[in-house]
């Protein structure tokens, strides 16, 4: 009974803190631009493939497999965590055992996955700590980003140790009481052999220790995640669901511009009184982005696969697609509370462009979509880069000189070069084809 009360209080605190954090975080979505969520069947398909099937992470086959195993393992182990919460609240033990063979299968899989995840996490930690993997470095990867990654990995490592510990000492405890087992534990039964001969009291202590250790780690981890890049754990599946499903090369149409252009092209409507407040064109700060951009930023786990394939970054330019996402997240975190307090008129004298992202970074992009192609959680960095370019050009007329010249040429003679439109057929002059072909 004491255990149940203690557990209930702990769970309540966990949920309260989590709800408070979520409320703060999700308030930020209020400031972002609305976008419709169309084509649900296709989104379900994409989610099944990219999120559940982990298809894009396999573009790096070895590390991809390890990550996929960790992800799939988490999904199986989640059943066990839910059972622990029920057990904790109601004082039951392995309450889902009534599922019989299904339980045996799920918990055997969970036991094996715990070992696989443990090994994978050790590989990940080794790569982060001892191998100089290029994509884990870069100007945006500050010491705090690295500590964040190592902390998340350490948490998962401890989670798996306590899970295996719990199973192992559960087996030993049942054995010492001559009670029937619930579930099958192929890895832990092997581990149990290593601890044979301990007294029932010691076994009981370690069973309880690992049980509490595991569930408390989950509670603490869940509340650290929203403040970490590893919020990815919660956000990536929903992010894949809401991600862009149009072809990578497609750029969103700016409806506000369409209205203006149609007025210019049709003199009839040119004098029609416009009652709308002129919007800001493009993105210069966090609140100008769409809610999907912000979801993208919250789902980014800073793996750097985008930056590793970016042609600008590869050739030493400042642009790093990962940094763009990290900057949006950091800027929203900074400005969100003020926006919440004072509304959209809030101004802290800073902005996303300028204080976080330089114009030089934005103009280095070739819009090749390699970053978006690579992102395992379907983040689309180019659309945000394009929206910031739109701000620079439409609001600030701040395009590089070469582009301004191209704009002028397109406007005046319908081509980015200085040629007369009348010469558009010159290529076809004196054209012959071989008669014998």
């Amino acid at each position: 009974m004491v255990k149940q009360i203690l557990f209930s209080i702990t769970l309540l605190i966990t949920l309260a803190v989590f709800a408070w954090t979520m409320r703060r975080l999700f308030f930020n979505f209020k400031f972002t631009k609305k976008l419709p969520l169309d084509n649900i069947p296709k989104r379900i398909k994409v989610t099944l493939e990219v999120a559940i099937g982990q298809t894009k992470i396999f573009r790096h086959p070895v590390m991809g497999l390890l990550h996929a195993l960790v992800f799939w393992g988490f999904m199986v182990i989640l059943v066990g965590s839910i059972e622990m919460v029920i057990d904790g609240l109601f004082g039951t033990e392995r309450v889902l055992g009534f599922l019989g063979p299904v339980y045996d299968f799920l918990f055997a899989a969970g036991d094996i996955f715990a070992a696989i995840i443990l090994v994978s996490i050790l590989v990940f930690l080794f790569r982060r700590l001892f191998m100089k993997v290029k994509r884990f470095y870069g100007p945006e990867m500050k010491p705090v980003s690295k500590a964040d990654a190592n902390l998340a990995l350490s948490f998962i490592l401890l989670l798996m140790i306590t899970l295996l510990g719990m199973n192992t000492f559960y087996l030993l405890e049942m054995d010492s009481h001559n009670e029937a087992l619930t579930g099958v534990y192929p890895v832990s039964i092997f581990l149990a052999g290593l601890f044979a001969g301990l007294s029932p009291e010691v076994i009981h202590f370690w069973h309880e220790f690992n049980w509490w250790g595991h569930i408390l780690l989950i509670f603490v981890f869940a509340n650290i995640l929203p403040y970490s890049k590893h919020f990815h754990v919660f956000m990536s599946v929903p992010n894949v669901f809401v991600s862009r499903i149009s072809p990578l090369g497609y750029a969103e149409n700016m409806e506000s511009i369409t209205k203006e252009v149609k007025m210019m092209l049709d003199p009839q409507t040119a004098f029609a009184a416009s009652t709308e407040v002129p919007p800001k064109f493009g993105v210069s700060d966090a609140e100008d982005t769409s809610w999907v951009n912000y979801m993208n930023a919250l789902s980014c786990t800073e793996c750097g696969r985008c930056t590793a394939v970016c042609p600008a970054n590869i050739t030493g330019k400042l642009l790093s697609p990962r940094k763009i996402m990290m900057d949006l997240r950091a800027r929203m975190k900074e400005k969100g509370p003020g926006l919440h307090r004072e509304g959209l008129t809030f101004n802290d004298g800073k902005s996303l462009i300028g204080d976080y992202i330089s114009e030089e970074e934005l103009w280095a992009c070739t819009m090749c979509n390699a970053c978006a192609q690579e992102c395992p959680v379907n983040i689309h960095q180019p659309s945000l880069i394009l929206d910031m370019r739109r701000y620079l050009v439409l609001e600030k007329s701040a395009a590089p000189a070469g582009l301004n010249a191209a704009f002028a040429n397109i406007e005046n003679n319908g081509a980015p070069w200085q040629f007369s439109p009348q010469d558009r057929m010159k290529w076809a002059e004196e054209l012959y084809v071989n008669a014998k072909a």
């Binding site: 497609y250 511009i257 203006e260 092209l265 042609p311 992009c365 558009r424 290529w427 084809v433 071989n434």
Partner: protein
């Protein structure tokens, strides 16, 4: 010249005036009409079209820039003006099917013009030629390139942007020659460096230019020919070959040129 037949490229305004609506509109694009190197590609593709007796026409002086560069460089106002103007012309001639040699125009006409009311069936020239191949219309007997090795550079706006990796490769397969791939190919392909408006501006400060990085990768394959299917990639690869002083041993051709030459046109 006795073995040559003059090709008259049909212009839409004239054809339409006779009451005929051509099946295809060949969208030449600004680079196809004005860039000296890519004009040659336009000519070769037009030769193939007329040799295939395709029912087609071009807009000629009535065509204007697709607006792709303007849009990706952030000038949405200019893009939409261009797009709406072009849509007016295309709709006036009741255009249904468009073929173009430019992946950027292909992308914007296919994926972006619909937002502004322009709905067409758009084909990249490699897709069009692949269709002709499937219909058995392209039979190559020449062994012009049989001693050569060809490497294909994926244009971003054909490949990643629109998922077309096979059409150009299927066409290369019928040209007797050796083929190799760069380490970064298909969806892993590295950009030539010209997209997103880069073609028209100075590159930002860095260690090297993107086109050099990509050309070095192509050179390392040992290929004699870099095949491309995009006017921007063409300019970049040509510059890269020059920069690396490989002009004597390496050439850069569009798939349409390789086919036209192999067909003996």
């Amino acid at each position: 010249m006795e073995n040559k037949i003059k090709v008259q490229v049909p212009v839409m305004a004239e054809i339409f005036a006779t009451g005929h609506k051509p099946e295809w509109l060949f969208w030449v694009g600004s680079a196809g009409a004005f860039d000296d190197r890519y004009k040659k590609v336009t000519r070769e593709f037009a030769k193939i079209l007329s040799w295939l007796k395709t029912d087609y026409a071009v807009l000629g002086a009535e065509e204007s820039d697709s607006g792709d560069v303007a849009r990706r460089a952030g000038n949405e106002m200019l893009f939409q003006m261009q797009a709406l103007t072009n849509i007016q012309i295309l709709d006036m001639y009741e255009v249904k099917k468009i073929v173009t040699c430019c992946p950027h125009d292909y992308n914007t006409l296919k994926n972006e013009y619909p937002d502004l009311g322009g709905h067409y069936e758009v084909w990249h020239h490699t897709q069009f030629l692949q269709k002709m191949l499937d219909e058995g219309k392209l039979n190559i007997k020449s062994d012009l390139f049989s001693s050569k090795t060809i490497v294909f550079h994926d244009p971003c706006y054909l490949g990643r942007a629109n998922n077309e990796y096979d059409a150009p490769r299927d066409l290369l397969k019928i040209i007797p020659s050796a083929k190799v791939e760069m380490p970064r190919n298909r969806s892993f392909g590295l950009c030539c460096g010209a997209g997103g408006g880069q073609m028209f501006k100075e590159a930002e400060k860095g260690d090297k230019e993107v086109f050099i990085e990509r050309t070095e990768e192509a050179i390392a394959t040992g290929a004699d020919i870099i095949a491309t299917a995009c006017p921007f990639c063409m300019v970049m690869m040509t510059d890269g070959i020059k920069y690396k002083n490989q002009e004597d041993r390496m050439k850069n051709y569009d798939i349409a040129e390789l086919l036209s030459m192999s067909l003996g046109l």
